[in-house]
């Protein structure tokens, strides 16, 4: 059985039962396949859940790349980022109940972070592939710190937009669209040195922290 088929079957199960299957054995039986077929792709339910969120990111990324290659007006980096987010929230909209299940608020928030881990890698890989050059960051001599700084900023923005969408109650989540437009404009035009230095400082800290480990 294919990876995607298993993921979509698991999503349906979650939506229907509002909880995980009792065991991998139960789930395999539900799919009428052998357990080892699932283990070929996923070691656990946690791994499946993290894959779903990453899958949404991939979905939006592929659509964005496709549009950028077919229409000149959508090729520059900033436009691509806006397109990505607008598409991403459309993907989320189509799966809102599932996303709310996978990203619980309150006490279980830690679970939400775990479920976003793989999405984070997929997203940051995509952002790095865009090779975004922020003029205001050119004063940083170390490429590594520069990359980390962008990572921190980009992921922070991702989380902010996701959180905004989770709470958005406007029709068709119209406000999230506006939020995306404004916050992307802000981040690409940002040049206030105090804010920037704080972000760079954080980027440095994260770099050193990872090196120290």
């Amino acid at each position: 059985m294919e990876k995607e088929t298993i993921l979509s079957a698991y999503s349906d199960y979650l939506l229907d039962h509002q909880e995980r299957p009792k065991s991998m054995h139960h789930f395999a039986k539900h799919l009428e396949i052998g357990e080892q077929e699932i283990y070929a792709h996923f070691a656990s339910f946690e791994a499946m859940e993290a894959s779903i969120m990453a899958h949404f990111v991939e979905n939006a990324r592929d659509l964005t790349v496709e549009q950028a290659s077919s229409n000149e007006a959508f090729t520059d980096q900033r436009t691509q980022m806006v397109t990505f987010y607008l598409t991403f929230v459309e993907v989320l909209k189509a799966n809102r109940s599932l996303v709310q299940l996978l990203l619980p608020q309150g006490k279980e928030q830690l679970q939400a972070w775990k479920n976003l881990k793989q999405a984070k890698h997929t997203f940051l890989d995509y952002v790095r592939s865009l090779d975004i050059k922020i003029e205001a960051l050119s004063f940083i001599p170390s490429d590594k710190v520069k990359e980390k700084t962008l990572d921190v900023a980009a992921w922070g923005q991702f989380i902010t937009i996701l959180a905004f969408w989770m709470k958005d109650d406007s029709p068709d989540f119209e406000r999230t669209d506006i939020f995306i437009e404004k916050s992307l404009k802000l981040s690409f035009e940002i040049s206030d040195s105090t804010i920037l230095h704080s972000i760079v400082d954080l980027g440095k800290f994260v770099t050193h922290n990872e090196e120290a480990r």
């Binding site: 229409n71 397109t83 406007s170 506006i178 404009k185 802000l186 206030d192």
Partner: protein, 447 residues
């Protein structure tokens, strides 16, 4: 520091923005008092107005949407506002950051049900013009060039809360009390809501096209219903220059006269024949074609004149109704300018004031031809406006003054006078429009 162009989306954020405007104005007053000690009073006041206008404008333009519309509206009334305010607010219609291509595409797709690429043969995502609540894109379909007006998402919903925030600032600017302005704000709010409905605008544009076909030298962009919705309006693209850039076309005096006459006829025809008038006469809403035709754009704001208001208002254009004090007071009462509770002294003050005002405003109608380019006429009008604004006795009068319909009718009238003046044309045939009328106009040609 480069300005962050983050448009606030919730009411609290908007409130914070307005607060910034408020404190900015305060700071300017501090500077004003500082300057006043050392320099000449008039110059300091002028600088203060300019500084305040800049701060308020910057605050408003960041809020985009309806607050910007209010700024524009206030800028129309050149005779009430000090010059600096007007100059700064007039910029309001030009400076707004455009929507990004992806968001424009998403909004259009959501509205029209298909992507712009599917609907039009080509679509340019770089907007060509900005309007205060939308932007205009160029598109092509079946070898025809089109103008696609796209409304900013979320604008319609923010109007009421925006107005609540603008209200105290506006009241402070014009020295008004809250109970005096409720009805006026209601009028503004309902008009602004109408302006966010492009379906209504399309209908109003179509009505104008149908009813104004008798008038020569006047044209409109044809709308396309099947490519329009509540927030998207597709129209024929009209080539030409905006009225503000007309001088750049180097028109002959004869051409200027023709445009001025057409503009004048267009307005008087609407008022007297249609009793519905394009209520947003600013230079951005008119263009002149290469063939020197007047092109009227933007029918979002159309003011209908109810019969009783029309009848009372235009009775005031007859000098004999003004010179007879009893008749005059009767008309002023019909228009809510004078109220039953006014003392005889207050009634006299109001009647005297309006008599002076109307003598000037009515002057063009006292002759067959009138030269609107005359600076003396406008100077006189503005001087009187300034004088009335500062008159303590008038300010002290309680209650609201004047029918709510005055708001947009006066804006239209003063806007028209401003446009006529800026055109720098020769004398215009004041009653030329009468040949197009089927109804009897209340301020008909004097015998």
């Amino acid at each position: 520091m480069k300005k962050l162009d983050k448009i606030p989306t919730s009411k609290t954020q908007r409130a914070a923005k307005m607060l910034k405007v408020g404190t900015g104005v305060g700071a300017n007053y501090v500077k004003y008092w500082g300057k006043k000690l050392v320099s000449d009073k008039e110059a300091a006041k002028e600088q203060l107005d300019e500084a305040n206008a800049a701060v308020i404008y910057d605050g408003l333009s960041e809020m985009k949407g309806s607050a910007l519309k209010v700024a524009q509206m206030m800028s129309m009334d050149q005779s009430i506002l000090p010059k600096a305010f007007v100059e700064k607010f007039s910029l309001a219609q030009f400076q707004v950051p455009p929507l990004s291509a992806p968001l424009a595409r998403k909004v259009l797709t959501k509205e029209l049900g298909k992507s712009p690429e599917e609907i039009y043969d080509s679509f340019d995502y770089d907007s060509r013009f900005a309007a205060s609540i939308g932007q205009v894109h160029e598109a092509w379909k079946d070898d025809q060039k089109l103008a696609v007006k796209l409304q900013y998402p979320g604008v319609a919903k923010s109007i009421s809360s925006d107005l609540q925030i603008v209200k105290p600032v506006a009241m402070r600017m014009f020295n008004l009390k809250s109970e005096d302005v409720a009805e006026y704000f209601e009028e503004v709010e309902s008009k602004l809501h109408e302006e966010t409905d492009y379906t209504l605008e399309l209908q109003q544009l179509q009505d104008a096209i149908d009813s104004c076909s008798v008038m020569p030298n006047l044209t409109f962009p044809k709308p396309f219903k099947e490519m329009s919705t509540k927030t998207v309006l597709t129209m024929e693209w009209k080539e030409g220059k905006h009225l503000s850039e007309y001088d750049g076309m180097e028109p002959t005096q004869e051409q200027r006269n023709q445009i001025a006459q057409t503009l004048w006829d267009f307005y008087l025809f609407q008022i007297h024949e249609l009793r519905k008038v394009h209520a947003d006469p600013h230079p951005g809403n008119f263009m002149v074609s290469p063939e020197n035709e007047l092109i009227a754009l933007d029918f979002g704001c159309v003011k209908a004149l109810p019969d009783d208001f029309y009848n009372s208002y235009f009775k005031l254009t007859h000098p004999e109704n003004i010179s007879n004090r009893e008749t005059f007071l009767g008309i002023l009462k019909e228009l809510d300018v004078v109220t039953e509770g006014d003392t005889p002294e207050e009634q006299k003050l109001l009647a005297d004031t309006f008599e002076r005002l109307l003598t000037i405003v009515n002057r063009p109608f006292q002759s067959e031809r009138f030269d609107f380019s005359s600076p003396e006429y406008f100077h006189e009008l503005m001087m009187l406006g300034n004088e009335l604004k500062d008159q303590k006795e008038l300010r002290k009068l309680s209650g609201k003054r004047g029918s709510r319909h005055f708001l947009y009718v006066n804006r239209t009238l003063f806007g028209l006078l401003g446009l006529m003046n800026a055109l720098n044309a020769g004398p215009v045939d004041v009653y030329h429009h009468e040949k197009y009328l089927t109804k009897r106009a209340l301020n008909g040609r004097r015998a």
